[in-house]
C-alpha cells in the first residue's frame, strides 16, 4: 500500500509544487497519474523514490513511513520499487542481458541467482532472442521492454513508470501497455505518469489527476479528461 498523508512540497525558491496531497493506492492496483507538465507528477514520483523529501506530511509504503528513513536505508527502500523512464536509461556499452543483470549485480545478488533470473524476466518481456544485442540495435519499444525487465528483475512490489510511452509510436506503446498489464496481473502495484490520453481512456484503470499541486480528480475506471 502507498499512502500520502497531507504531503506538501515547497522548493527552496518558494515554489509550492504539492499542496496538502493525500492519496491511497492499494496493493496490486494499476493507477494512472495524469496532469499537465509541472503539475506535480514528477514530484510525487521523486518523493516515492526518496530523491527529495516532503516539506511536511508523511508517505507510507507498506507499513513504514519512508520520510523517516535514514540515508543509508534509502538503497534498500529503492530495491522494493522498480522504475522505468521515458528515455529508457539503458547502458549503451552493455548488452540487453548485461543491462538487466547489472541491476542484480549492483545489489550484490549471487551470480547463480542472476543467471537464473535474467532469462526468466527477459522471456516475460519477450526479448529472449535479443539478449545478446546492444540497445542501439533495438527498436524503441524493445528498449523500453529491456528497461521494464531491468525494473522487474529484483521483483519489486511497486513499479513506477514515468511517461514510459512518451518516446514510442502508438503500436509500440500498446506493446508496453500489454507488458505492464501482465506485470500488474502478477500482483505488482503500478503507478504510471502519462500524457497519453488514448492509452488512459482505453485501459479503464484508476486515474489520479494532479493540477497546480492538488489532486483534482481520483476515479476508478476513469478516462484522461474525466469519465470515459
Amino acid at each position: 500500500m502507498i499512502q500520502f498523508k497531507n504531503v506538501c512540497k515547497e522548493f527552496a525558491d518558494g515554489n509550492k509544487v504539492l499542496k496538502n496531497i493525500s492519496l491511497t493506492i492499494d496493493n496490486g492496483e494499476f493507477v494512472f497519474l495524469v496532469g499537465s507538465s509541472g503539475a506535480g507528477k514528477s514530484t510525487i514520483i521523486k518523493l516515492l523514490l526518496k530523491e527529495i523529501e516532503p516539506t511536511s506530511g508523511s508517505i507510507i509504503i507498506g507499513d513504514k513511513d519512508i520520510t523517516k528513513y535514514k540515508r543509508r536505508e534509502i538503497p534498500f527502500h529503492r530495491r522494493n520499487i522498480g522504475v522505468v523512464f521515458q528515455d529508457f536509461r539503458l547502458l549503451a556499452e552493455k548488452t540487453v542481458y548485461e543491462n538487466v543483470a547489472f541491476a542484480m549485480e549492483v545489489i550484490e545478488a549471487p551470480p547463480r541467482e542472476v543467471r537464473r533470473q535474467v532469462p526468466i524476466i527477459l522471456s516475460m518481456v519477450g526479448l529472449s532472442k535479443q539478449s545478446g544485442l546492444y540497445p542501439s540495435q533495438l527498436s524503441g519499444g524493445e528498449q523500453q521492454r529491456v528497461s521494464l525487465a531491468r525494473a522487474m528483475v529484483n521483483s519489486p512490489s511497486i513499479l513506477i513508470a514515468d511517461e514510459p510511452t512518451g518516446n514510442l509510436d502508438p503500436e509500440m506503446s500498446w506493446d508496453i501497455m500489454k507488458t505492464l498489464s501482465e506485470i500488474n496481473q502478477r500482483g505488482t502495484t503500478i503507478l504510471m505518469a502519462t500524457h497519453a490520453s488514448d492509452i488512459v481512456d482505453r485501459m479503464k484503470k484508476r486515474v489520479i489527476a494532479v493540477e497546480n499541486g492538488i489532486i483534482t480528480r481520483d476515479e476508478m475506471r476513469g478516462g484522461y479528461n474525466g469519465e470515459a
Binding site: R72, V83, V106, E108, P111, R150, A151, N154
Partner: protein
C-alpha cells in the same frame, strides 16, 4: 564485503581506467612527477640523516692534561672519564704520539718542528668520542671537574651548526613533500571527477535500482588507488634506477667535494619504494573520495 563484490569493484575500476585512457595517462604522469619530486626529497632527507649521524658520531672532544702526570694517574683519569655519562670511548694520546701526528699532518712543512730541538711542547691528551653529540657541553663540564685537566676542547659551534642545518633541511623538505601531496590529491580528484561525469548515467541507474553508496563509490576509489599505485611503481623504478646509477658513480669515482659517501642503494631502496607506494595508495584513495563524496548524493 563479499569476494565477488571485490572482484566487481576491481574489474570496474580497471575498466574505467581503460575507458578514459588519456585522462588516466595524464593523471598517472602527474602522479609520477610529484612522486619523483617527493622521492627525491625523501632521498635527500635520508642522506642528510645518514651524513649527520655519521658526522655526529665523528664529533670528538680533546681533553688536554697537565704536564708531568704519572702513568698511574693517567690510568685513573681514563677510567674516571669513561664513567662520565655520554662518553663512548676514550683514547690516550701521549705527547710523543701527538708530535708524530703533527709531523704527519704538516707533511713537508714538518721541518719547522725541527726548531723545537727535541723539546715537545704538546700536552698529553685523551681523545673522546661521544655517544650523543647533543650532550657535548654537559660531558665537557663533567670532565673539566676532574682534577689535573688543563683544557677540554670540542667543536661547539660546528656541532650546533650541523644540528641546525639538518633540522632546517628536514623541515623544508617535509613542507615541500606536503605541498606536493596536496597537488597530487587534487590532480587525482579531478581525474576521478571526469570519470564520474562520463559515467553519471551508470551511477544514476545504480542508485535507482538500489545500490548502496559504498557500492557506487568503491569502483572509483579503486580507480584512484590504481592510478596512484601505477604512478608510485613507475616513480619508484625511475628513482631507484637513478639512485643506483648515482651511488655507483659516487662509489667508483669519489667526486671531490662529496667527502661524505651517500647511503648505499640497498639500504635506501626498500624504504623508498614502501613510502612511494603508500603515498600512491593514500593520495589515490583520498583524491577519489573527495570527488565521489561531492558527486554521489543519493
Amino acid at each position: 564485503m563479499k569476494l565477488r563484490t571485490g572482484k566487481f569493484f576491481i574489474r570496474e575500476g580497471f575498466r574505467s581506467i581503460k575507458r578514459n585512457r588519456t585522462m588516466s595517462a595524464a593523471a598517472i604522469t602527474s602522479v609520477i612527477a610529484s612522486l619523483l619530486v617527493i622521492g627525491i626529497f625523501f632521498v635527500i632527507v635520508l642522506n642528510i640523516d645518514f651524513a649527520a649521524t655519521k658526522l655526529e658520531s665523528q664529533i670528538e672532544m680533546m681533553v688536554y692534561l697537565n704536564d708531568g702526570l704519572s702513568q698511574n694517574i693517567i690510568n685513573t683519569m681514563s677510567t674516571e672519564i669513561k664513567s662520565v655519562n655520554g662518553v663512548k670511548s676514550v683514547e690516550f694520546i701521549s705527547k710523543a704520539v701527538a708530535l708524530k701526528n703533527l709531523e704527519k699532518n704538516w707533511g713537508e712543512n714538518s721541518y719547522l718542528l725541527e726548531g723545537l730541538d727535541g723539546d715537545n711542547p704538546l700536552p698529553d691528551a685523551f681523545l673522546i668520542t661521544l655517544s650523543d653529540p647533543d650532550q657535548a657541553s654537559g660531558v665537557a663540564m663533567s670532565i673539566s671537574a676532574i682534577s689535573n685537566i688543563e683544557k677540554v676542547v670540542y667543536g661547539k659551534e660546528e656541532l650546533a651548526k650541523l644540528l641546525n642545518t639538518t633540522y632546517v633541511l628536514r623541515m623544508s623538505s617535509l613542507l615541500i613533500i606536503l605541498i606536493l601531496l596536496f597537488i597530487s590529491i587534487f590532480i587525482i580528484a579531478n581525474t576521478i571527477k571526469l570519470t564520474l561525469y562520463a559515467r553519471r548515467r551508470e551511477i544514476g541507474i545504480m542508485k535507482f535500482v538500489g545500490a548502496t553508496d559504498w557500492f557506487v563509490r568503491m569502483p572509483f576509489i579503486i580507480e584512484g588507488i590504481v592510478v596512484g599505485v601505477i604512478g608510485a611503481v613507475s616513480a619508484s623504478i625511475m628513482l631507484g634506477a637513478a639512485y643506483y646509477y648515482c651511488s655507483n658513480l659516487v662509489k667508483n669515482q669519489m667526486i671531490g667535494f662529496m667527502s661524505i659517501s651517500i647511503m648505499p642503494f640497498n639500504q635506501i631502496i626498500s624504504s623508498m619504494v614502501a613510502l612511494l607506494i603508500t603515498i600512491g595508495v593514500v593520495i589515490g584513495a583520498t583524491g577519489s573520495l573527495i570527488s565521489v563524496r561531492k558527486f554521489i548524493r543519493v
